[in-house]
């Protein structure tokens, strides 16, 4: 059988086709972002016209202040709530899960493996499925409509602990031994040697947790029922489901809601990609 090798012309045609497919796919993926910008800068009247407007004919920059003055929803307060919830939850998750990951990876203990298997088992039960039981517990302790109710129950992420454990198993042992010889305790070794040398994994878990927390909808909807505890997603959903939604304002609100994440994304993409790829390694 003759060996088939791509000739120069064929390789060129193949590459062109490949780039063509990718360019079309990329354009499709970017359409929703374009729609946010276009609609956010248009008037409601021009958006309801039957013919397609590629760009807004008269720029509406007043949509932002109209949104902030909207009587249905205090959007600024929902942004503040989301910032509080996401920052506190991310800090808590990273702190607690990294310690657990380090303990499981490095501290010899008879039942360490049993504890790890238990944590893995809770990974199998997705949090969303248990929202009714979790709500029951939270209302028993009186945390409905509180920040702690929004934050604490979702702070213990088995997945984050798992990522940290896998990372710390590969952490160079020589560094830790040197610090022990210098007289540092287990805590000192962890805090002064291990953490400062593991910035990548911390950035990865922190950014993934932050994105998840900022975008969470079901739990905030269930626990933060009261208007002054609405997060950005709940506020957006309320605006969307209002009797006569102001379409252009909705898109301004969307742009504001995704802006912090796009910033996180651009700054930390390298770490996020690394973190996501790490999840697959142990598949």
């Amino acid at each position: 059988m003759a060996e088939v090798r791509p000739t120069g012309a064929r390789a060129f045609a193949g590459a062109t086709a490949l780039y063509g497919v990718l360019a079309v796919a990329a354009a499709l993926f970017l359409i929703p972002f374009y729609l946010i910008v276009r609609n956010g800068l248009s008037t409601d009247i021009s958006l309801s016209r039957p013919d397609w407007q590629l760009f807004p004919t008269d720029l509406q920059l007043g949509n932002v202040s109209a949104l902030l003055d909207n009587p249905t929803v205090d959007f600024a307060r929902s942004l503040r709530n989301s910032a509080i919830v996401s920052i506190v939850q991310t800090t808590g998750t990273v702190f607690i899960a990294s310690m657990a990951g380090y303990g499981l990876a490095r501290i010899p203990y008879r039942f360490a493996n049993a504890v790890f298997v238990f944590i893995l088992a809770t990974l199998m039960i997705p949090a969303a499925v248990t929202f009714v039981p979790s709500f029951v517990i939270v209302s028993e302790i009186g945390w409905v409509d509180t920040y702690q109710g929004l934050i604490v129950p979702v702070m213990f992420q088995a997945f984050a602990a798992f990522l940290f454990r896998q990372y710390f198993i590969g952490f160079p042992l020589e560094l830790e031994e040197a610090s022990r010889i210098d007289g540092l305790s287990t805590w000192g070794t962890y805090w002064r040697i291990v953490v400062p040398n593991s910035k990548g994994i911390f950035a990865a878990v922190a950014s993934i947790t932050f994105i998840g927390s900022w975008n969470a909808f079901l739990w905030p909807l269930v626990v933060g029922k009261d208007e002054d505890k609405w997060t950005v997603q709940v506020a957006l959903s309320t605006l969307l489901n209002a009797q006569s939604p102001r379409v252009s304002q909705l898109f301004v609100a969307s742009a504001i809601a995704i802006a912090p994440l796009l910033i996180v994304f651009v700054l930390l993409q390298r770490y996020i990609v690394e973190g996501v790829e790490r999840t697959g390694i142990n598949g």
Binding site: Y19, F29, P32, I96, V129, F131, I137, F156, F251, Q269
Partner: protein, 316 residues
């Protein structure tokens, strides 16, 4: 008073030899959180599911397995399971194929690789609420000026009401395309990482053996080598499909009136309306939650078995 002096106590705390104590200092807080906020709720709801509990989260009257019988006998619950099965049957294979296609394409190109990867991955930063808003109000809004209807009009079709009619079930187009936009980049990245771990010399050896590039190398090298990653992706896709709530709620519910259309109601939306809607019925809600938790465990384990989840990537 007898007992260790502060100094010896500190030694014991600080000494590297006392590993049991250190283990609990490091792992204890996390474990306590899991016990209080994951394990206890599940056990509590098993108890609650055996009681009547309306408008209250404390058990009022023991009813045995009545709640389970009611939930399993409820045609709305059963139809929510069918909705999930229909949804999963669509979204799992379609997202997998699209993610794999994009991963293969991005893996092939030399120029602008990082650009394409970022473009496909950036929707992962958007929430389901934002995506539902774009899909419902701009792409599939059912008006002549909506994007989907504009495209249909350009090729000579009539306007469609995408979300408000159950027949034909066009709402699936809306739901599936939205979820794909949000998820494909994430799974593409997982598969891309898997592709990059395949040793290059396998392809070289295949080429020496006379395998044609393209289909043959894909079928006999890439796919088998990608087996473990693919299995992980499929399991994750199924678990995520089971948890679907956000886009269904935001695309279809009438939150102001507290109602939801009689179609396209997945299990979590069902549970939400039983336990937290007007009914506030935590006995039945807990029974439903227990049934769903068991189902997802069985589904995950079965699919994992079927796909050889947990095996290392190897020669097929």
């Amino acid at each position: 008073m007898a007992g260790p002096s502060p100094r010896t106590l500190w030694r014991r705390l600080a000494g590297p030899q006392n590993n049991n104590l250190w283990f609990w200092i490091f792992v204890g807080p996390f474990l306590a959180g899991i016990v209080v906020f994951v394990l206890t709720p599940i056990l509590w709801s098993v108890v609650l599911s055996l009681y009547e509990a309306r408008n209250t989260v404390t058990p009022t009257r023991f009813v045995g397995l009545d709640n389970y019988a009611d939930v399993l006998g409820d045609s709305v619950f059963r139809s929510s399971l069918f909705t999930f099965i229909a949804f999963a049957a669509f979204i799992v294979p379609v997202t997998f194929v699209a993610s794999l296609g994009l991963a293969l394409a991005v893996n092939q190109v030399r120029f602008a690789k990082a650009f394409f990867r970022s473009v496909f991955f950036v929707p992962v930063a958007c929430s389901y609420v934002v995506a539902s808003l774009i899909w419902k109000m701009s792409i599939f809004n059912g008006l002549p000026g909506g994007l989907a209807n504009t495209v249909l009009g350009a090729v000579g079709f009539d306007n469609r009401a995408w979300l408000s009619r159950p027949h034909p079930p066009l709402y699936w187009v809306v739901i599936v395309s939205e979820r794909m936009w949000l998820q494909v980049g994430f799974y593409m990245l997982l598969l891309l990482a898997g592709l990059q771990r395949i040793p290059v010399n396998l392809y070289e050896a295949a080429s020496v053996d006379g395998a044609t590039r393209g289909w043959q190398t894909f079928r006999y090298i890439t796919l088998p080598q990608l087996r473990a990653t693919s299995a992980a992706v499929l399991v994750l896709l199924l678990i995520n499909a089971f948890q679907a709530f956000d886009e269904f709620y935001n695309l279809l519910s009438n939150a102001g009136a507290g109602t939801y259309p009689p179609y396209a109601r997945p299990p979590l939306v069902y549970l939400y309306y039983v336990a937290l809607g007007r009914q506030q019925d935590f006995g039945h809600g807990s029974a439903g939650a227990v049934v769903l938790t068991l189902m997802i465990a069985v589904f995950t384990l079965a699919q994992g078995r079927l796909l050889g989840f947990g095996k290392r990537d190897s020669y097929g």
